[in-house]
């Protein structure tokens, strides 16, 4: 099967039929300025060298590709390899993007970073980069998420960041983004909005993907070194979609590599009970781009639910919508319960406690690996670690 392997975006930020720029006019000039600055930085060897230095010496790249032998043996099928983004400084892949955007913001003369956070991993990574670069930082976080991801709230505060509780709407990630954008629209002169996922008006989805594609670049190289060929399957969880697009992007032209994106199936298929955009959503506009959105018939954004705060969001990055339309990536979802069970299994069998977000990808692999022969291999993006989720494990009766 032939795929058009270039997803773009084009100059107006469209990945095929999805993306674009939908934002209040006050933000449009800053967004244009950001785009110009990003293009200049991307082509500037000194910017790239500084980013590479920090990714290596500060964040801890490259991350290992770990052959999970006991999990593989337990499941009895395809070989399972874990891309260990959970070993990065701050505990998740989010730091890749935050270092990139932080350096860019500094280069643009901005002195203040604002960000949204769901699980708190992006908030912690932003707070960390702000401290590293000597910038002021404000993170918006839904009230519900602050309660269920409390350790990350403390970490952000330790790093000198102001965490603002958002009590509007559903009190989760979507509302934190609304509030972050309201801050940005008010303080555009000195502030950079550090979007944590491959979402938002162009150039954010492209820029965040570019800063995360190192995951796939490394995984590809490591697969060739360790196994001698490309993987048969990639699997990653999809909230906004930054860890998954980061893993997938460099494999898009490789037609033999199957890709699976895993959304949050939550408690069930009813609208409001899950965050499976490709199962229950349809194209619409939220937070800057045209993409799959969970919404009512009247175009109001629906409530979502997931045990994982990082996947609990009504829209998905526009490049994923295009990959879905083309059939290049298969999107599926697993339930809260399946994710929790996967967490326990990985902890007990491999000695790794995954973040609940990443556990969704593990849960999908638990379903698929047994049906694949032992000479096939799967790379799963272990995008973050589960320390932040201990409170949830307790609430859910696992501890």
């Amino acid at each position: 099967m032939e795929f058009d392997t270039s997803t773009g975006p084009n100059a107006r930020g469209w990945f095929g039929e999805f993306g674009g720029r939908f934002a209040p006019e006050t933000l449009m000039a800053p967004v244009e300025e950001l785009e110009a600055a990003y293009h200049a930085a991307r082509n500037d060897p000194s910017f790239q060298a500084e980013l590479a230095r920090l990714l290596k010496d500060f964040a801890g790249r490259p991350t290992p590709l770990f052959h999970a032998r006991r999990l593989t043996a337990r499941l009895g099928g395809a070989q399972i390899y874990l891309k260990r983004e959970d070993l990065l400084h701050t505990g998740a892949h989010k730091i890749n993007n935050c270092l990139g955007q932080g350096l860019l913001a500094q280069r643009m003369g901005k002195t203040r970073l604002v960000a949204e956070t769901g699980a708190g991993q992006h908030g912690v990574a932003t707070a960390t980069v702000a401290a590293l670069l000597g910038m002021e930082c404000v993170v918006y976080m839904g009230e519900e998420d602050m309660a269920r991801q409390a350790p990350n709230v403390f970490r952000m505060r330790m790093l000198g960041t102001k965490v603002v509780s958002v009590s509007s709407g559903t009190k989760t990630l979507k509302d934190a983004i609304n509030e972050g954008m309201r801050d940005w629209v008010t303080n555009v002169q000195n502030t950079h909005y550090l979007m944590g996922s491959a979402l938002g008006p162009h150039p954010y989805p492209m820029m965040v993907r570019d800063f995360q594609r190192i995951i796939g670049q490394e995984a590809r190289q490591q697969a060739l070194e360790k196994v001698g060929r490309l993987p048969d399957m990639l699997c990653a969880c999809v909230g906004g979609g930054s860890n998954s697009i980061g893993l997938f992007y460099d494999f898009i032209p490789d037609a033999t590599v199957k890709m699976v994106g895993v959304e949050a199936g939550g408690r069930g298929p009813k609208l409001g009970e899950h965050a499976a955009r490709f199962a229950g959503g349809r194209p619409g506009v939220l937070h800057g781009s045209y993409t799959y959105v969970l919404q009512t018939e009247d175009g109001l954004i629906a409530n979502t639910h997931s045990v994982s705060a990082g996947l609990d969001y009504a829209a998905v990055g526009p490049e994923h919508s295009e990959l879905h339309r083309r059939g290049r990536v298969e999107y599926t979802h697993v339930s809260d319960q399946e994710a929790l069970e996967a967490t326990t299994l990985l902890a007990r069998v491999e000695g790794i406690i995954p973040a609940l977000e990443s556990a969704h990808a593990i849960a999908e692999v638990i379903k698929r690996a047994p049906g694949m022969p032992a000479d096939k291999f799967i790379i799963v993006n272990l995008s973050g670690r589960g320390d932040k989720d201990l409170g949830i494990f307790q609430t859910e009766g696992i501890l």
Partner: protein, 273 residues
């Protein structure tokens, strides 16, 4: 660009103001706050208070350009079950009793989900005079503008102090009726002082367009209305009116809001020497 089309109600109103050497008052309220029946009474009250253009807000679940006052109004309206569809159903009855032009003020997704063609057709049949879509940027507006033009509905775009000249010019090209100027960066909401960025923006816009210029964001008193009108053609008041509705409508009724808006309207009158 549309010389052949009949003059819209919005254009006629600004023309009349200009002939009289007068300035205009544009008032925003959220439809369905606290109910669609109340909206009918409030539209009439605004009309009687002498409002020149009414912006009728379509409540949205994620009003990211709005401050707390309009956010709360949206939440009340959504709790009351307000949708774009229901607003358009009720519109003809409001249109029959109100003289002032009424434009819809919406986020893009509800319009997109209804369908651009269906929205424009239904709005035109219902007697809507135009629309302003706060998160629809000029570069993504082509299909929307075409659908609206075909039905002679005004399309109002926003320009901000951060807009470059190129963006300002583009917004003016796609606008009919008037151009909405944002007085300062930030979300909607009342302010005690008007930023000097507003006057500067008006001056830049004058050089690029002959459209009437209405300025909003942060204008909440008759004195501020007067100040804005030293350079713009009309002042837009939103949050202050919505706030008055929130505080006073339930026990004082539409008359109190009419009185409040009449006071704002006095800001458009030439002060005694």
């Amino acid at each position: 660009m549309n010389q052949s089309q009949p003059t819209t109600r919005v254009a006629a109103r600004f023309q009349k103001l200009r002939e009289n050497g007068a300035k205009g008052l544009v008032v925003y309220l959220t439809a369905g706050d606290p109910s669609l029946d109340a909206t009918g009474e409030l539209l009439l009250a605004l009309d009687r208070a002498g409002v020149d253009v009414i912006e009728l807000g379509v409540p949205f679940s994620d009003p990211l350009a709005d401050g707390p006052v309009i956010q709360r109004a949206s939440e009340r309206a959504l709790r009351a079950g307000t949708t774009l569809r229901k607003i358009l159903e009720r519109f003809p009855s409001w249109r029959r009793s109100v003289q002032a032009p009424i434009i819809l003020f919406s986020y893009f997704n509800p319009i997109l989900q209804l369908g651009l063609e269906k929205f424009a057709t239904t709005a035109a049949q219902a007697g809507v005079d135009g629309a302003l879509v706060v998160d629809l940027t000029v570069e993504e507006a082509e299909s929307y503008v075409r659908a609206m033009r075909e039905r002679n509905l005004d399309t109002i775009f926003l320009a901000s102090p951060t807009s470059t000249d190129a963006r300002l010019e583009h917004a003016a090209q796609l606008s009919t009726g008037f151009l909405y100027l944002i007085s300062r960066t930030g979300v909607t909401g009342e302010r005690t002082e008007i930023s000097s960025s507003g006057r500067l923006l008006t001056e830049r816009a004058r050089r690029l367009t002959s459209l009437p210029l209405a300025m909003g964001f942060g204008i909440s008193t008759a004195a501020q209305v007067r100040e804005v009108q030293s350079h713009a053609d009309a002042a837009v008041v939103g949050s202050a009116v919505v706030h008055a509705i929130e505080k006073r409508f339930s026990h004082e009724g539409p008359a109190a809001i009419q009185e409040f808006v009449r006071e704002l309207k006095s800001g458009t009158e030439v002060p005694p020497a």
